[in-house]
């Protein structure tokens, strides 16, 4: 028995050390890359932006940020992440600011169904793994349970579990940029397809304002602390059920934000049932992006004028 315990301990020490070394090596290389948007954003340091667009895949794919920059003459960036939820928006913003970047106005898209969510975005969370040992990242994830704490202390386990996202192919990609990222120089990705793949049945995109709004409030606080003006907006839907419940939810949400000094713009129903402008229920195609980008540029100009007048 003693022999077994001795060998098991030695073996565990060797395994731990090997994985620790692999962890350090992979983390350093992944942090140099730019294939995933988290990699690109986390390599941006000490920049000043007049505006930043933030949120989920909807603002990521529905706004031509370059066009907005040209129309408004302002310096802007799109820091949205596909597959992310409000908790992830808060984390991404915190990391972006921690790197010495400054934003004057943050335009945050809030998806109705997850304004109050405390669930991690399943697609986006592994993309923060190379930064897991940063305080902001670990503090964020450790609240979700034991597994998330273990990721911090068991080296390489997170990369092993998510080796389809990371793995050797992304190691090579991070070193040599074999595959170009999907986003452009402003952090936007626009769908090439113009076909509609979603359902045409109407759907209730209602706001639930009864919860704690933990992460939305965190973003509001962060903006106040960093002297950022926050504007919340909602990107268009193709199939919104615009009944009384929808409008009363909107009013309540607007009231909630206004009480906290946040301006709100709703574009959710602006192109409702215009299926020719969408690729699915909640993402615009390139024709839709052209139209909606004008709306966003107008919103930005309007808020900037208001800000200048204050």
């Amino acid at each position: 028995m003693k022999k077994l315990i001795k060998y098991l301990l030695v073996f565990l020490v060797i395994v731990y050390s090997t994985f620790w070394l692999l962890d350090v090596l992979f983390t350093n290389i992944y942090q140099q890359g730019s294939y995933y948007k988290t990699q690109w954003l986390n390599n941006k340091e000490n920049n000043v932006y007049d505006f930043a667009i933030h949120g989920s895949s909807r603002p990521y794919t529905c706004i031509d940020t370059e066009e907005v920059v040209e129309n408004t003459g302002l310096k802007g960036i799109n820091i949205s992440l596909d597959g992310s939820t409000t908790p992830t928006h808060a984390l991404m913003l915190e990391m972006f600011l921690n790197r010495g970047n400054k934003i004057n106005t943050l335009y945050l898209n809030v998806d109705n169904w997850e304004a109050d969510t405390e669930v991690i975005g399943q697609f986006s969370y592994p993309r923060f793994f190379p930064y897991y040992k940063e305080k902001a990242v670990y503090d964020h994830y450790k609240e979700f349970g034991l597994k998330w704490k273990l990721y911090r202390y068991l080296p390489f386990v997170r990369y092993a579990e998510q080796n389809t996202t990371w793995g050797l192919h992304q190691l090579a990609n991070s070193l040599f940029d074999f595959k170009q990222p999907a986003y452009d120089a402003y952090g936007t990705k626009i769908y090439e397809s113009t076909d509609y793949h979603g359902t045409k049945d109407l759907f209730e995109y209602n706001f639930d304002t009864t919860g704690q709004m933990k992460y939305l409030n965190k973003i509001i606080s962060m903006c106040k602390e960093n002297d950022i003006e926050l504007v919340v907006f909602v990107c268009p839907f193709a199939n919104a059920e615009t009944d009384q419940k929808y409008f009363s939810g909107l009013n309540e949400f607007e009231h909630y934000l206004n009480k906290r000094g946040v301006e709100f713009y709703n574009f959710g129903d602006k192109y409702n049932k215009r299926f020719d402008l969408f690729v699915d229920e909640d993402h615009l195609n390139k024709y839709g992006v052209e139209l909606f980008t004008e709306d966003v540029a107008e919103m930005i100009t309007e808020t900037q004028i208001k800000k200048a007048g204050q």
């Binding site: 028995m1 395994v15 092993a160 080796n163 389809t164």
Partner: protein, 474 residues
């Protein structure tokens, strides 16, 4: 509970630690509780089926042994066969049977539709049913004694390492070991852990990684032509081998840690020189089960040549049906049955006088086995035919088809081939005397191999939503 789950990673060390701490006389109680817990983690209600089989076969075997009346003995055996095969039929074949009746009746009257049973297949039912059946048959044949201790017999039926996907054990091998559970053996722990590690490598690295591309092609047979269905079928050939032999390795390794020797289930089957030899090296515990309880009772080879060949053919068709309630499995069994029958006939009355070189024999075997896997894997007969049809169609936009798939699917395709080569190299090295000798003599070679395997598992294993073992569905 899956072997490739965090749950098992905690469950197994706890069971092993308690096993070595407890006195010899109560070790079996721990294993029985652990085995029932292991099964109930899947669906607790279905433990009742195992308990029912256990109770019936326990009393039937005692009755058979104590009776001198041949008619009574046969009646008791019939009760055991009816209960066990009845449960198997109801849960596994009833809906298939009704489906075919409804299809046949619909030719005359579309109004008549017999109702289907709303059940899900209890995991491992084919395995534990065959294991408990082998017990009553062996007692009936007077080749083993009935077990007096109900708890030990219950453990024989439900022993967790091999409960859901074998190896299907015989009472002569397993019952005695369960009665005499041994204490701590360093050598067995090392051998067991080593075999578990190798099994885990085959399952999570090879089988689960190859599964991505296989599923993509077999779930969308219309979208892939030329090399892609061929490659998917080749991948499936290694996927199913690694999935099932990986499970067997983990099961045998886990049992060995607690000093239980389970039978070998695989011996590099794809190196076989004939389909007949293949069945002596693939799922050996099932092949020998069918040999002992179907083929030999049918008369085996002690009959006319025609009858002998027919017996082989019937045995393989039954084996096909054992695998699943679908016509695809029947055809899979037919292909193997036909090949083994012809090979056996050729053995006594040669169809040609010359002997093929070994590489031709191996290529023929591999080709036939791979071809039969198409029917095994395809969701239905139409899809199997589509796959074969598309394999022959090289005029489609082959490059365009692969460009359409996602990056991660391309990655899975690209690393599939090196992983298969790595598997073949390691399996070949495991046969070489020099490697075996180096492995046994030099500790650093052993340890380097373990670390290498662990790194490969970490880099290429599939851990998100770990998949079931393919043979769980049988």
């Amino acid at each position: 509970m899956l072997f490739n789950s965090i749950h098992f990673l905690i469950f197994f060390p706890v069971v092993v630690s308690l096993f070595f701490m407890l006195p010899k006389t109560v070790k079996w109680i721990l294993l029985l509780i652990a085995s029932y817990y292991f099964y109930m983690m899947w669906k607790w209600e279905y433990i009742g089926l195992i308990v029912l089989s256990t109770v019936v076969d326990y009393f039937v075997a005692l009755g058979i042994e104590s009776s001198a009346n041949e008619r009574r003995r046969k009646l008791l055996l019939l009760i055991s066969l009816s209960v066990n095969l009845g449960l198997l039929f109801y849960f596994k074949y009833y809906n298939f049977f009704i489906d075919n009746i409804n299809m046949a009746v619909a030719i005359w009257d579309k109004e008549i539709v017999l109702p289907y049973a709303d059940v899900i297949l209890p995991v491992g039912i084919s395995f534990y049913t065959f294991q408990t059946l082998s017990y009553t048959i062996e007692v009936f044949m007077k080749r083993t004694h009935a077990e007096k201790n109900f708890g030990i017999f219950a453990l024989y039926v439900s022993f967790f390492p091999q409960l859901v996907a074998g190896p299907i054990e015989r009472p002569q091998n397993l019952l005695g070991q369960l009665r005499e559970l041994k204490g701590f053996r360093y050598e067995n722990i090392v051998l067991g852990l080593r075999q578990m590690l190798w099994g885990m490598f085959k399952k999570v690295v090879i089988a689960d990684r190859l599964a991505f591309f296989v599923n993509l092609v077999y779930d969308n047979p219309d979208q892939f032509h030329g090399p892609w269905p061929i490659m998917a079928t080749l991948f499936f050939t290694f996927q199913i081998y690694c999935d099932f032999s990986g499970y067997s390795d983990i099961a045998i390794g886990a049992a060995r840690i607690i000093n239980i020797d389970l039978m070998t289930n695989f011996r590099t089957p794809y190196f076989s020189k004939s389909v007949k030899e293949f069945w002596g090296r693939w799922h050996i515990s099932l092949s020998t089960w069918f040999r002992d309880y179907v083929y030999i009772p049918l008369g085996g080879n002690r009959v006319s040549v025609f009858r002998w060949v027919l017996n082989l053919f019937i045995t393989f068709v039954v084996s096909g049906i054992w695998h699943g309630a679908a016509w695809t499995f029947v055809i899979w069994g037919l292909i193997h049955g036909l090949a083994v029958s012809i090979e056996s006939y050729h053995g006594v009355r040669p169809l040609f006088k010359f002997k093929f070189p070994i590489w031709v024999q191996r290529s023929y075997t591999l080709f036939l086995v791979i071809f039969a896997w198409i029917f095994f894997r395809a969701p239905g007969l139409n899809e199997a035919i589509d796959i074969i049809d598309n394999m022959l169609n090289w005029n489609a936009n082959i490059i365009g088809e692969i460009k359409r798939i996602e990056t991660k699917e391309l990655y899975n395709l690209a690393i599939g081939i090196p992983l298969i080569i790595l598997l073949l190299i390691i399996e070949m090295m495991m046969q070489w005397k020099t490697t075996i000798s180096l492995f046994h003599k030099l500790r650093w070679v052993r340890w380097a191999s373990y670390i290498f395997l662990l790194i490969i598992i970490a880099l290429f294993g599939v851990f998100v939503d770990p998949s079931d073992f393919i043979y769980f569905q049988f």
